[in-house]
C-alpha cells in the first residue's frame, strides 16, 4: 500500500456504496499525519478529498482526475488509532479513519457505547462527522456532531488545527455535515454513553398503511429512545404499511444471563428484505415485502445493539445484489407539519416506473446549528431504487421539487443525482457555509465529484456556474 507520498499513489476507479457514477482518482493512504499534509502539497488542479469506508451511496468520496486521501484500511496508524477511554469525562479520542465498528468493539466491553450509530457500523469517524450522521435515536440524542467535543483538522495549507465549538464555532459547524470539504479530520474526541448490556429491548408493531405507520412512530418516540419503520412501498393496496420497531437499551436486570463480554454473534440477526434486484422486478419485491410483512413477529424481543442499529451489516456487501448497475438511495427530510407532502411522495413512488426496493421511515428531532447538517425536525424517508432505469432520474427530480417546496432537503451522503439548482433551496444557509469553507481553503483545493456536481464550494461555483 502506498503512503501519503503521491508518487506512491495508485490510480483507482472509485464509486460510492451504490456502485454508480465511477471516476478514477489517485488514491493515497496516509500512514502518518504528515502524509496528509504532504498529499495536499502534491494535489494537482483537480484537488483532493478524504475518503473513509466509502459508505456514502453517491460521489461524495470520489474525485475524478484528482487525489483521494483514503483514511481507513491501514491498521495501526495514527489515523485509525483508538485511544483509551477517559472515564471521568466520558470521552474517547480516536483517529479520523477509525471505524465505528472498531470503536464499538473496544468500548462496549467496559459498558460504553457511541451515542449515535447509523444504519451501518462500517463508517469512519471522519465520514460520520462529514455527513453529520444520524441514528434511530435522533429524536432524543440528535446527530453525531452533538457528541463531538473536538477534532483535529488538516486544512489544505499549514499545520493541523484542533477545532472546538469554543475555538472556531463556524469551522466546527461547517465541518459537521461539510462532506469533507473543509479538510481532513485526522482525529476526534467523542462523548460516550454508559450502557448496562449489549442488548436492546425491541418492540415490533405491524401497521396497516402510511398514516398508521406515522402514528405508530409518533407514539413510539414519546416513550422510546430508538425508533424506525420499515415501509412496504411495493404494495399498491396497503400503501405505506410497515413494521415499526421501537427500542431502548436493555437494563442489566432485563438480561441477567447476558454479560457485556458475550459476543453478539451468538444472537441470530433479523435482516430486512434485501431483494436481489438484478433478478426480480416489482412483482418480486411485492412478494418479498408481503412475506416480510407477514412473518411471525414477536411483539417484544431482546436483540444485540448492532443487529438493531445496523441489521444490514449481517449481509456484508449486499449492494452487489443490485448487479453491475448498482443502486440509488433517495433520502429526504421533510419538516413536521408537511405530512401531506410525505403522503404525496409515497404515492408518487408507488406509481413511478422505478421499483422501490427497501424503504425506511423515521422521525427527526430538532436539527443542530450546522449549516449543511441534514436532519431537520420532522420526517425522513429513505428509499433504495435499482439504478439503470432511464426514467429514474426524471422521477427523482420531481420528488426533489416537492421536497424543496415543502422546506425539506435531500441527504448529500446518499445522493448521486441531484441537481445543483436544488442546493440553495434545500440548504438555505449554503452561502454562510461557503464563506467558512473559502476561509479555510482560499485556493479551492478541496473538491469532490459531489462538489463539482452540486457546486457546494465557492470555487466550484466559479469554475462552472
Amino acid at each position: 500500500m502506498s503512503t501519503g507520498d503521491p508518487s506512491n499513489g495508485t490510480r483507482r476507479r472509485l464509486t460510492g456504496w451504490g456502485g454508480t457514477a465511477p471516476s478514477v482518482a489517485t488514491v493515497v493512504h496516509p500512514a502518518t499525519r504528515g502524509d496528509a499534509r504532504a498529499a495536499f502539497e502534491a494535489a494537482g488542479p483537480r484537488g483532493l478529498i478524504a475518503r473513509g469506508l466509502g459508505r456514502a451511496y453517491g460521489d461524495a468520496a470520489q474525485n475524478g482526475g484528482g487525489m483521494v486521501l483514503a483514511t481507513a484500511g491501514l491498521n495501526g496508524t495514527a489515523l485509525t488509532a483508538i485511544g483509551p477511554i477517559d472515564g471521568p469525562r466520558a470521552t474517547i479520542t480516536v483517529g479520523g479513519g477509525a471505524s465505528l465498528e472498531a470503536i464499538q468493539r473496544a468500548v462496549l466491553r467496559t459498558g460504553w457505547s457511541l451515542p449515535v450509530l447509523p444504519g451501518t457500523r462500517h463508517v469512519t469517524i471522519g465520514g460520520a462527522i462529514a455527513s453529520d450522521v444520524h441514528g434511530k435515536n435522533h429524536h432524543v440524542d440528535g446527530s453525531f456532531g452533538a457528541h463531538v467535543e473536538a477534532f483535529t483538522l488538516q486544512p489544505p495549507a499549514g499545520d493541523p488545527i484542533v477545532v472546538t465549538r469554543a475555538s472556531d464555532a463556524a469551522l466546527f459547524e461547517a465541518t459537521t455535515g461539510g462532506m469533507g470539504l473543509t479538510g481532513v479530520v485526522l482525529a476526534a474526541t467523542l462523548r460516550l454513553m454508559k450502557v448496562e448490556t449489549r442488548l436492546m429491548r425491541v418492540h415490533n408493531q405491524r401497521t396497516a398503511d402510511l398514516d398508521a405507520t406515522m402514528r405508530a412512530l409518533v407514539e413510539a418516540d414519546a416513550t422510546h429512545r430508538y425508533s424506525v419503520a420499515w415501509l412496504d412501498l411495493a404494495s399498491t393496496r396497503a400503501r405505506g404499511r410497515g413494521i415499526v420497531t421501537a427500542a431502548d437499551h436493555a437494563r442489566a436486570a432485563e438480561a441477567p444471563a447476558v454479560g457485556l463480554l458475550d459476543e453478539p454473534s451468538l444472537w441470530r440477526a433479523t435482516v430486512p428484505p434485501v431483494v436481489p434486484m438484478n433478478l426480480v422486478r416489482r412483482a418480486g419485491v411485492s412478494l418479498f415485502n408481503a412475506a416480510w410483512f407477514r412473518r411471525p413477529l414477536p411483539s417484544e424481543a431482546l436483540a444485540p445493539i448492532e443487529s438493531y442499529m445496523a441489521p444490514l451489516d449481517a449481509l456484508g456487501a449486499w449492494n452487489r445484489l443490485y448487479g453491475p448497475r448498482g443502486l440509488v438511495q433517495y433520502q429526504c427530510a421533510l419538516p413536521a407539519g408537511e405530512e401531506a407532502v410525505l403522503r404525496a411522495i409515497v404515492e408518487a413512488i408507488t406509481h413511478a416506473p422505478a421499483v422501490p426496493a427497501l424503504s425506511v421511515l423515521k422521525r427527526f428531532g430538532p436539527g443542530n446549528g450546522a449549516p449543511l447538517s441534514f436532519p431537520i425536525e420532522g420526517w425522513t424517508l429513505a428509499v433504495d431504487f435499482p439504478a439503470g432505469d432511464p426514467a429514474l432520474g426524471a422521477s427523482l427530480d420531481t420528488l426533489d421539487e416537492h421536497v424543496a417546496a415543502a422546506g425539506g432537503r435531500v441527504y448529500f451522503a446518499k445522493d448521486a443525482r441531484m441537481r445543483a439548482e436544488m442546493v440553495p433551496l434545500m440548504y438555505p444557509r449554503i452561502d454562510e457555509w461557503r464563506a467558512t469553507q473559502a476561509r479555510i481553503d482560499p485556493a479551492g483545493v478541496l473538491t469532490s465529484d459531489l462538489d463539482r456536481r452540486l457546486h457546494l464550494t465557492a470555487a466550484s461555483t466559479r469554475s462552472a456556474r
Binding site: 490510480r11 476507479r13 454508480t20 478514477v24 475524478g64 482526475g65 432511464p390 456536481r453
Partner: protein
Amino acid sequence: MTDATGRPRTVLVLGGGSDIGLAITHALVGRGARGVVLAARDTARLDAPAAALRAAGAAVETIEFDAEQVDTHEDVVAQAFERARALTGDVDIAILAFGLLDQATVLEEPPATAGHVAMVNFAGVVSSGLAVAQQMAAQGHGTIVVLSSLAGQRARPSLLPYAAAKAGVDAFGDGLDEALLGTGVRVMTVRPGWVRSKMTADRRSAPFATSTERVASDVLRGLDRGSRVVWSPGVIRLVGAIIHYLPRPLFRLLLGSR
C-alpha cells in the same frame, strides 16, 4: 459527470452541424444534459442548431474546429473542455460526428478529394479523438462516442475513401477503448447503416436505412448498457458480420456493387 441515473450534464460535439451528432445531443438534452459545446469549421452554420438546443433547455457554446487541421486539435479540444467547464462542468460525453461523403464514384473522383475525405474522416478522428481521450483521462471519467459506419465493415467501390476511412475509425475506436482501460474513460463505437440525413439527402437509399432519431435512441441505449459497439438499427449487426466475411463474388452479387 454522468450521474447515477445515467444522465450526463455536459456534451461536446465535434462536427456540431452533423444531423446524427445533433440528434444524439437532443436526446441527451431530453434526458437532462444541461451544457453543450458545438464545434465545427464554420461556426456561423452552428447558429440554428445552437438555437434549437437552447430552446430545448441547454446552455450552448460554439467553437471553431477544422477536422482537417490536425495540428490544431490538441489546443482546440483543450479550449472546448475549458468552455464546457465554464458552462456546466467536465465534458461527460464527446461525440465525434464530423465527416465528409465522397461526391463521385471512386475512379472518377479527383484523387485530392478522396485524400481530403480520408484526412477528415480518419486522420481528423484520430487526432481529435486522442485529444479528447487525454482530456477525459485527466478528469478521470467520460465517454467518447465515435461514429463509424456499416460501410466500414467492407469497403466497396462506391464511397470507397469514405468506407476505407470508416474502417480505420472503427479500428481506432476499438483500440482507443482498450488503451483507456483503467482511466475511467470509455469509447463507444457506433455503426449505423444508411442514415437518412442532409449528408445523404441527394443519394439513393440503401437497405436497412435508418433515421437520425433511431440512431440517437440506439446510442442512448448503448450508453445505458455500457456497450462498446452499437449497431443501428440493431439488425445490421448480422449484415455487418455477413458482409465482412462474405467471399468477394458473393458480396458483389449481394450488394450489386459495381
